[in-house]
Symmetry: C2
Subunit: 260 residues, 2 copies
Amino acid sequence: MQYETKRRSILKAISWRTWATMTTAVIVFIFTGRFTLAITIGFLEVFAKMGLYFLHERIWHRIRYGKKEIPSFVLWITGLPSSGKKAIADAVYQVLLKEDLKVDRLDSRDVRPFFPETGFTPEEVHRHVKRSGHLAARLEKNGVIVVASFVSPYRESRDFVRRLANNFVEVHLRTTAEACEKRDAKGHYRKARQGEYQYFPGVHVAYEEPPNPEITIDVDTTSVEEATRRIVAYLKQRVMNEKKAKPQPASPRLEQSRPA
Amino acid sequence: MQYETKRRSILKAISWRTWATMTTAVIVFIFTGRFTLAITIGFLEVFAKMGLYFLHERIWHRIRYGKKEIPSFVLWITGLPSSGKKAIADAVYQVLLKEDLKVDRLDSRDVRPFFPETGFTPEEVHRHVKRSGHLAARLEKNGVIVVASFVSPYRESRDFVRRLANNFVEVHLRTTAEACEKRDAKGHYRKARQGEYQYFPGVHVAYEEPPNPEITIDVDTTSVEEATRRIVAYLKQRVMNEKKAKPQPASPRLEQSRPA
């Protein structure tokens, strides 16, 4: 929740006054040719108007007109383990941060440690992805842009997030398990093949490709820089550029008999 | 993410100019006694300075100095079923909304419908409360004030939320199961006693009172209005009034071997 301090208004009054009084003095001098008159009027103006300007700022600080929200969205990057989700998500996040946008970064490995009891069976992965997606959508509803990176191998839980979000931008990193295994410096695929992990997408369970993602990136032939550029361009043209943000739907509210 | 439109700056330029030019004209008239000169200088000023003012606004729009954040917090209202959590939380929420604060309202029954598979065993209640608390803390981290109302009968999961939040304000609605049952218009306590519900706090499982809540309200002897007044007073004096917001700690990041 942002507000403007009185100090800011005072500084603005001084900076404006310097600029404006010089203009007045020059105009008076041109018209009257009298240098001292120009200076005297300029001098009086400084005091009279500095106070008025401060007052003017404080009044406008309370007026909401012309204070607009940039539409927020959930950017959801999905793909096999070691497909490069984190690198691309981090790069997009940095670009948005630099543009001074209110943006949060949600990575699967930032959420899981809080819920160590949630494992990797399909049911638990659904729970993990739905929990994170619900969070992402709620942040979006509050004006926060979310850059999320999750393997999220199952269509059902990704679609759950899509339904909850207002502006959902699904980015599919297209590749093969073989290519990912080559990139996999930490040997997760090997461990999965050796049975150390179960339900590993690409090894034990299928990664269900999104049927209609907003953006598809062939990571085996696309650099992180190029992927970032394409995603940011899409966001600027198709999401953030809307003259009016889509109206925020009221949070869906379902009926339930037992008190929650 | 808020920004100021050019339209806002134009309107401010016009409103300021009206005010300021009249001042200049009066000053020039007092000093020279020449009415037409005063009007001419005022007239020229209108054009010269309107443009300058607009420019001045656009420059300041990019300057962050003096734009402050009001500290956000998680207000967590806990108590037995039918202790009056929702009424008090709604009232506090309305007060904060009216003050133009960025605030979100989180009620247990707004979260549960998204996760219908989560029931009411202690384990499932922990999962529900932790999921909601994680969400609340993440909203808080992004500058959103959260007003949450959850039975949250178990200390463990409430403390989980306390650890995640930066400013955690726990409000305990103190009462007895008997008093709640009298207030309970929907007959939930009766259903619980008849075995229709299991693990019902106050009937089958104990409500674990918070040992050190920030605020305790004896709801049997306190009106909703009085409770709201007390909570808002606490928030203003102890949380939102901090001259400087506590530094936001970096999101805790735990290690994990398997990719998330």
